[in-house]
Structures are given as structure tokens and as C-alpha cells.
């Protein structure tokens, strides 16, 4: 059963990289469906207020509140039809989506870029972290994905954002130096739960090669626009090392001495690890984070890097 969800080629790669036990767990978890995770919009409400107001309409939540989110246990009707949703009091997303925006530490004057924005869930979370101040550039290449981005930004009452429809690799053309960058990069998505990922069994190795090349190009262009002491948070919902640990390891080699990989202070996932991939690698990789699919979480990779010199 589990073998059909992804090709043997990928499964073998996971076994080589993560080991047999972890791979078995990944395959089991990918098949599970997730509860809906509700993240209150701190610009306009508090968790308590939101919870009370939804509970009075019959919604029920789990007692635990990871990352200050509510875990939906029962909905009397679809929660996106509530006036709370329509007036932007919350987003619905995987818990892992909350991590990249929360890694950045913008001030009210910061200039920030989200280089792969649609549908804009993380854009909205980032604007929240920015307290709706400063300037956020939300960049998305696919024109047909722009309406969802506009709609989410409007619904969530976000007023610090310029939307740009372009390839992130031409971002330097805007001539703007930024304090922070979020790159939630286009990827093969092999860490996404099956429900959101109908094409998982059709993934081929070529996809990994193609996506990791785009990620590399976007990373290098983004790096040019980052100010000294600025930070970039890179993430993918892929389980392939070429889109995670290996991508960052190569990036560190290309930008030797310019990069400090900062630790990510969360207690989920494991430190990035390349011992099963290569003998020689940058020890800073252990500051990146590898997260396996789990309750409410997609398989995910995340790295936070600071530009220490040009």
C-alpha cells in the first residue's frame, strides 16, 4: 500500500538519506489527513476572542494551542463561511507555514521581500509579524495565482504590501536593497500530505534537478539585494536534500565567508544533517531544520541565513 504513494526511486533515496525507520514513518504520515489549523490574525484579534466567538457558533477546538494556533476538532459548517474568516480574523494553514515568517525579526521601518508569494498565506503571516508597517514586496511569477494573493492580502486587512507579478530572478531589477527576505521556494512538494498532493506518485528525479536549479538561481539573485546584517529565510515543503540541506550547503560554498546560518529556535524537527550524503560539508548545516510530516505539519526544510559581509 504505502509503496504506491511515491515511486520506488524516491523511496530508495529517502531510505539512503533518512534511514529505513524514518522513511516508513514518512510514508505513513503522508497518508494521514490533517486537522485544520487556525492562526488568529494578531492585527485585528486575539486567540481568546476568536475562539470564544467561533465556539459560540458551535465550532470546537483541541485544548493545545501550538504557536498560538487553534486546532479545529469539529465544524458545524465550513469555517470559511463565517464572518470571522471573511473579515480576515484568521488564516488556515499547516503549522509548518508559521515558522518562516516568525524567523524574521523586522522593525517598523524594515523593507522585506517575499519572493514566492502566492497564494499568500505566509505573506499575510509575515505582514502580521511586521505589524502592518514597513514595506513588504510580494513577488509571484504565475499570473493566474495573483488573484488568490490579492484576495488573501485584502481579506486579512494588510496595508504594507506591494504586489509584483514577475520572476523572482528579476527582483534585482527593482533596485531595492532589503533588510529581510522570505523565500518559500517553488519545489517538488514531496513533503506535502497526499490530500494536497495528488501528483506525488508521478514525481521523477528530473523534477528535483529542475526545481533545485530554480531555487539556486533565486537564492543567488536574492542574496545580491540583501543588506549587510540582513537575513533570508529559505524554506521548501520537499523532502529531497537537493532542495534543502544540499542546496544550502552549496550556497554556503558559493558565498564563502559571507553567510552565517542562524539557529532556528523551535523544538520541532531535527538539525539539518548531511553525514549520510557526503563526507565534507559545512558544519553550519546543523543550524538548519528538517521537519518530517506529522500531525498538522508537512515535510519541510528551513534555513535562516544572515549576510555578514558582501
Amino acid at each position: 500500500m504505502a509503496e504506491q504513494i511515491i515511486s520506488r526511486e524516491f523511496k530508495n533515496r529517502w531510505i539512503n538519506f533518512y534511514g529505513k525507520n524514518v522513511t516508513e514513518r514518512i510514508l505513513r504520515e503522508l497518508e494521514q489527513s490533517d486537522p485544520r489549523i487556525i492562526s488568529p490574525n494578531a492585527l485585528y484579534t486575539t486567540r481568546r476572542q476568536l475562539q470564544e466567538s467561533l465556539e459560540s457558533q458551535g465550532f470546537r477546538f483541541a485544548p493545545e494551542t501550538p504557536f498560538n494556533c487553534l486546532i479545529l476538532e469539529f465544524e458545524p459548517f465550513n469555517i470559511v463561511a463565517t464572518s470571522e474568516y471573511l473579515s480576515g480574523l484568521f488564516t488556515i494553514q499547516a503549522l509548518t507555514s508559521l515558522i518562516p515568517p516568525k524567523c524574521l525579526n523586522p522593525s517598523s521601518e524594515s523593507v522585506v521581500a517575499d519572493l514566492a508569494a502566492s497564494p499568500g498565506i505566509k505573506t499575510c503571516l509575515l505582514a502580521e509579524v511586521m505589524e502592518n508597517t514597513g514595506t513588504l514586496f510580494a513577488i509571484e511569477k504565475a499570473k493566474k495565482r495573483i488573484p488568490a494573493l490579492k484576495s488573501n492580502i485584502a481579506r486579512m486587512g494588510i496595508y504594507n504590501t506591494f504586489i509584483l507579478n514577475c520572476d523572482a530572478r528579476s527582483f534585482p531589477g527593482l533596485n531595492v536593497k532589503v533588510d529581510h527576505i522570505m523565500l518559500d521556494a517553488p519545489c517538488t512538494g514531496t513533503g506535502l500530505k497526499l490530500k494536497k498532493n495528488k501528483r506525488l506518485e508521478r514525481r521523477i528525479l528530473n523534477d528535483v534537478t529542475r526545481q533545485s536549479l530554480i531555487q539556486r538561481e533565486i537564492l543567488d539573485e536574492a542574496w545580491k539585494q540583501l543588506k549587510i546584517d540582513g537575513t533570508i529565510v529559505y524554506s521548501t515543503c520537499s523532502l529531497e536534500p537537493e532542495e534543502g540541506e544540499v542546496q544550502i550547503n552549496n550556497f554556503l560554498a558559493r558565498h564563502e565567508k559571507q553567510v552565517q546560518v542562524l539557529p532556528i529556535n523551535i523544538n520541532i524537527g531535527n538539525p539539518g544533517n548531511l553525514t549520510r550524503w557526503t563526507k565534507v560539508y559545512d558544519s553550519q548545516i546543523s543550524n538548519t531544520r528538517r521537519i518530517f510530516p506529522d500531525q498538522g505539519m508537512d515535510g519541510f526544510f528551513i534555513a535562516l541565513m544572515k549576510k555578514v559581509r558582501e
Binding site: 485585528y44 466567538s53 470559511v80 463561511a81 464572518s83 474568516y85 471573511l86 473579515s87 480576515g88 480574523l89 514595506t135 513577488i139 495573483i146 488573484p147 488568490a148 490579492k150 484576495s151 485584502a154 481579506r155 486587512g157 496595508y159 504594507n160 504590501t161 506591494f162 504586489i163 509584483l164 507579478n165 514577475c166 520572476d167 528579476s170 527582483f171 534585482p172 531589477g173 527593482l174 533596485n175 531595492v176
Partner: protein, 181 residues
């Protein structure tokens, strides 16, 4: 050019609508720190940006490579022009709600109907809301009981009731994400 300033007539058209909604001339205060810009997309869209943001617009326009990286929206969308008339956009709701002097609150049942793009008829004895004082056709910002802004309406004085004619409401996020934005 994709991004331009507004003509004097356009500025008047925009301020008339906004000031009517706010029941004040707060827009002129907002314009001390913000500027109005027009971005020509499918329609002529009107945005507010901070004065300090104009630097991004010029670099997007003047730089050669900037041609490949154009700004599509400003920070605060107020609305758009259609056949020479300024129409308020739902995107402005939370922003203008901050400045609104005379909010209209609807009961839970009225608010629910309003979000389904229905007009709301208020009996005259129900007009402790103070709607009589507004002229026929004037625009108001509508809130639910919890103080959350839910849309814009026009006031129409009928013989024995006052109608809040739905102009636009937050139900649009459910009805038409793909077409409206």
C-alpha cells in the same frame, strides 16, 4: 506608463466618496503622509502609498531591468474608476474603518443577510442608528455587532423605512476570489 498621479478631477472624485464614507475630511489628513497613485491594470485602480514609498515606484519605472519587475498594486487600495466614476473597493474596508466617525451597526441577523449581498430595510423606529440625518444616496461603512467592518452601503430614504443598499461586502471573498481581484 503604468503608474501615474491622479488628475485634479480624479482627486476630487476620490475625496468626495471617501469623505462621505468617513463623514469627515480625514482624507486630507491622511494625505499629509500618504500620496494617491493610479495603477492601470484591468481598470484604473487608486491606491494610497506612504510618501516615502514613491522611491520604489520611480526605481521600478526608470531602471532598465525594472521593466521585467513591475509593481502591480500599491499598499492601500481605495477603489477604482469605471466610466469616469470612482467606486469604493472592498480592500479599503479595514483601513477606512479606523477613521470612520459614524459607524452603522447591524444586528447579527441583519449582518448575516448583508454579507449575502442583500439590502437591509430598517424600520423608522429602528433608526436610533441616526440614519435620518444622512442625505439620500450617501455612503456609509457598515459594521456587525462585534464592531467588525463588513461592507459599504448607500442610504436610501423610502416612504416608511430606510434602506441600506448593499454596495459591496466581505462575502465577496467567498463568492468570487478568482474574478473580483
Amino acid at each position: 506608463m503604468q503608474i501615474t498621479k491622479l488628475t485634479d478631477e480624479e482627486i476630487v472624485a476620490v475625496s468626495t466618496v471617501i469623505n462621505e464614507i468617513l463623514k469627515s475630511d480625514d482624507l486630507s489628513q491622511i494625505l499629509d503622509t500618504h500620496s494617491l497613485i493610479k495603477i492601470i491594470n484591468r481598470r484604473d485602480e487608486i491606491y494610497l502609498i506612504k510618501n516615502s514609498d514613491s522611491l520604489y515606484l520611480s526605481s521600478s519605472i526608470t531602471s532598465d531591468r525594472g521593466k521585467n519587475c513591475k509593481i502591480l498594486t500599491g499598499k492601500i487600495k481605495l477603489g477604482f474608476f469605471i466610466r469616469g466614476k470612482f467606486k469604493i473597493g472592498i480592500e479599503s474596508l479595514r483601513f477606512l474603518a479606523n477613521y470612520c466617525q459614524n459607524p452603522i451597526f447591524l444586528s447579527p441577523r441583519q449582518a448575516e443577510r448583508f454579507i449575502y449581498s442583500k439590502d437591509i430595510n430598517l424600520k423608522l423606529d429602528d433608526t436610533k442608528k441616526g440614519l435620518e440625518k444622512y442625505s439620500d444616496g450617501s455612503m456609509v461603512l457598515v459594521f456587525n455587532k462585534k464592531g467588525i467592518p463588513i461592507g459599504y452601503a448607500k442610504i436610501l430614504h423610502k416612504q416608511d423605512y430606510i434602506q441600506l443598499k448593499n454596495i459591496i461586502d466581505i462575502g465577496i471573498y467567498l463568492r468570487s476570489e478568482k474574478t473580483a481581484f
